[in-house]
């Protein structure tokens, strides 16, 4: 099945006129307003500071559905780094690999662990960690997304 998620909607031309008047909107609002069919979009969680909700465009519903979260555990992390890390994840799950280079912003290495399926329920759960070169790594964030978006090549 060939679906171009980035093709602008042709059945809702009226909303295009709003594009220049709105600023500061999140990716979900923009996607809904412009009719762009980006498969995954994210927006800040309105209830939890510096957490993000991930939405997937469901073709059958013609709307976005909440399918995952990015929960920041290390609240000391600079906002710029968190934002760019989330954007990089979104880039990858949208099938692209033009990532933002964070090498000049961070002093820690990014590690991760995959939470076993038995503990993760109906989602794929990955714990991101920071490693500063000594001792053990520290939990940085938890990324969850509905099962089926990602797969573990060592556990298929």
């Amino acid at each position: 099945m060939g679906i171009n998620f980035n093709e602008k909607s042709k059945d809702n031309p009226k909303i295009s006129g709003l594009e220049k008047s709105k600023t500061g909107e999140d990716a979900l609002e923009k996607a809904k307003r412009t009719g762009e069919r980006t498969r995954f979009v994210h927006k800040p969680n309105p209830l939890i500071e510096r957490d993000y909700q991930i939405f997937e465009y469901i073709i059958e519903k013609g709307d976005y559905e909440h399918v995952g979260d990015y929960v920041l555990l290390n609240k000391d992390e600079p906002r710029e780094i968190t934002d760019k890390k989330v954007m990089n994840i979104m880039t990858l799950i949208n099938g692209k690999d033009d990532l933002i280079d964070l090498s000049n912003l961070t002093t820690t290495r990014l590690l991760y662990t995959i939470v076993p399926e038995a503990q993760a329920g109906d989602q794929t759960k990955i714990i991101l960690k920071d490693y500063d070169g000594s001792g053990v790594s520290k939990d940085n964030a938890i990324f969850t997304i509905r099962k089926g978006v990602l797969y573990d090549k060592f556990n298929v």
Binding site: I3, N88, T106, T108, L110, Y151
Partner: protein
């Protein structure tokens, strides 16, 4: 640029290999200043046991 790290799922939508995806994430996140003898960013399994 479209990533080559996905395959098509039963629903027809692409799904992504975790290891390749996070190797790219780790590569983009690798600090410019060296961390000495640490793990290779492309082998980002963290087996360290918290103490």
């Amino acid at each position: 640029m479209i990533s080559s790290t996905f395959e098509e799922s039963a629903s027809g939508l692409p799904k992504f290999e975790i290891q390749s995806m996070f190797a790219q994430m780790a590569s983009a996140h690798e600090p410019a200043i060296g961390l000495g003898t640490g793990m290779n960013a492309t082998m980002s399994y963290d087996d360290a046991t918290p103490v």
